[in-house]
Symmetry: C2
DNA sequence: AAAATCTTTCGATGAATTACAAAAAAAGCA
DNA sequence: TGCTTTTTTTGTAATTCATCGAAAGATTTT
């Protein structure tokens, strides 16, 4: 049983996307990495709340982080989103 | 501003997918339409709960329904899922 | 009209989620 | 060593969500 039609939808990844604030963050990170402060400057919610959302997306592997001195830069893991898109398409009959 | 890169992710659709029971229902409906009773026979949750989940997915336009006598048959709207997959890919930088 | 069948709505409850302020942790700089 | 900056963790309040049994709505059959 390989290849076609596995439907491995990872519910943790979908749940991590099912929040407006987290989608906003993803849109911010589309073309550039940012740290929590930069992200918070563009959002309406508090810095701790942003940090919380970042952890959720990191745990779901939607984001990856890179530490540079005292700063932590976040960026999008395109592979995970590509796989998710595939899984969603696999819900449709051929 | 057309075509490329609109990122119209509809959060209602994502939220409608972010539940294990609803994903189970979608997998059941992949190749055949079913009514609530048939779906409930394959799930562990109660009929009213199934009905509730069906309404959520119908409101999000993931499902469509067809009434035949006293029965209502549900099936997957592939177009909505295809659009969602596109939107998810649009979160990735080119 | 009444009964039977299929389905949804109502009302309640427990669990999960989001959000903030305040405190704590981690790392570099004076 | 203290001081500042960046970030996360904690504690708490408010909201949202999934679930069930019971009741109600809708349609066909008798």
């Amino acid at each position: 049983m390989s290849g076609i039609n596995e439907n491995n939808i990872d519910i943790e990844i979908i749940k991590a996307l099912a929040d407006e604030t987290r989608l906003d963050i993803l849109r911010l990170l589309k073309n550039q990495e940012m740290n929590v402060n930069e992200i918070a400057a563009h959002c309406t919610v508090s810095r701790p709340t942003i940090s919380h959302h970042l952890q959720i997306m990191k745990r779901a592997r939607i984001l990856v982080s890179r530490k540079e001195g005292k700063e932590i830069f976040y960026s999008v893991n395109g592979y995970v989103l590509t796989s998710l898109a595939q899984s969603i398409l696999s819900l449709i009959s051929f």
